[in-house]
Subunit: 220 residues, 2 copies
Amino acid sequence: MPQSSHVPLATLERLPAYLRAIDALTSHGVGHAPSSLVAQRSGVSSAQFRKDLSLVGASSGVRGSGYDLAGLRGELRDVLGSAERVSFVIVGAGHLGHALAASSSFRRGGLDMLGIFDIDDEKVGTQIAGVVVRHDSSLADFVAENGVSIVVIATGPDSAQSVADVVVRAGAQEILNFASVVLQVPPCVEVRSIDLGVELQMLALHARGSQAMAQVPSVR
Amino acid sequence: MPQSSHVPLATLERLPAYLRAIDALTSHGVGHAPSSLVAQRSGVSSAQFRKDLSLVGASSGVRGSGYDLAGLRGELRDVLGSAERVSFVIVGAGHLGHALAASSSFRRGGLDMLGIFDIDDEKVGTQIAGVVVRHDSSLADFVAENGVSIVVIATGPDSAQSVADVVVRAGAQEILNFASVVLQVPPCVEVRSIDLGVELQMLALHARGSQAMAQVPSVR
DNA sequence: TAGATTGTTAATCGATTAACAATC
DNA sequence: TAGATTGTTAATCGATTAACAATC
């Protein structure tokens, strides 16, 4: 059960897919399976799957027979630490903010969405996915008072940096940034940026059969 | 100008950020700058920036003085190959599909959005970002007839696999998948999956100060 | 026991960082 | 020339793959 002092980020990022594969199998009545089956459903090789489990310290495998899925599920969940709740807010109640708030995957793993913020007075007061939309002007106080550690930025590129400035000053520790801007923040703040356009551009390189893309691994 | 036979994927993924940094500097009247400045604006070290340029075969740097931004911009754009147009469609006209369609970053780099598809008859016929929403039933024909190579899946997890099946049969070569499901496709089809919930979960691990996260690099 | 499948080791691959010689 | 900054090399780090000994 105890995992080694640090698990590679790449491994951690695959755990949710393993959990989904396990859940899918379980709901089909499969309670026990070899690495090859779970791996195939997760889009990775069985070698990588087993390697990941080993890095994570999982122990519900039995040589010659496979894994007890219920036990494995519990171990993976423990690594992701969903027991301890973590709260976050979304800034930007446009289509993207709306999509994120409603997304089932934002509700997984011990995450609590405390609020959604927008500058548009029309939107303020309405509810999205059961959470009320507040005005941006109350963002700083809200983050500070509720000890919100994660802020999701779903605004346009122009306001992203100023939102980051505000929430960092208010004590936010982590930012998930969907605006295509490189945020400048103090080193103690962790930023993950996802530029949806960049993902599309990488596929476009493939489509063009660009020389630059000579060989890129499939599926990521 | 000619780049070596294959540029690392990690390098290619940073080029758009470099382009944005260069554009920002240019619009501030800066026409020439050292690697350290562009790198800082792009959120990377100057060493990495120069290394990337070298991998890409850029040549607008001058020892002792820096880079000609206009020249550099042109070279980077050439690598991304935006000259040759590539067309794509979005499946799913919910909030996510809407957000993607409207996103300025989806309009960059020689990308043409040809259509948006949804099952909901209410949405069919309306326009999003100047593109008409069509019914899912016409998806296969549309992809085949227009030689669409990239399909963006912005549906819920339940329909994602069946959409993938349809478009692959119709000839799509690349899929950008936002549903949290591992798609099973033939090896010739390139899939990039982005699970927005996973990104949030990784930040949550940090927030919890989980042992598993002992040391993870900041900013990605 | 024989067959199957794990967990781990070693080899490979890819990406980042640091340092510095080349040179404007 | 002296100072600055590039482009590249070598060292490090991290992640993946392959292979197989351990063992149920």
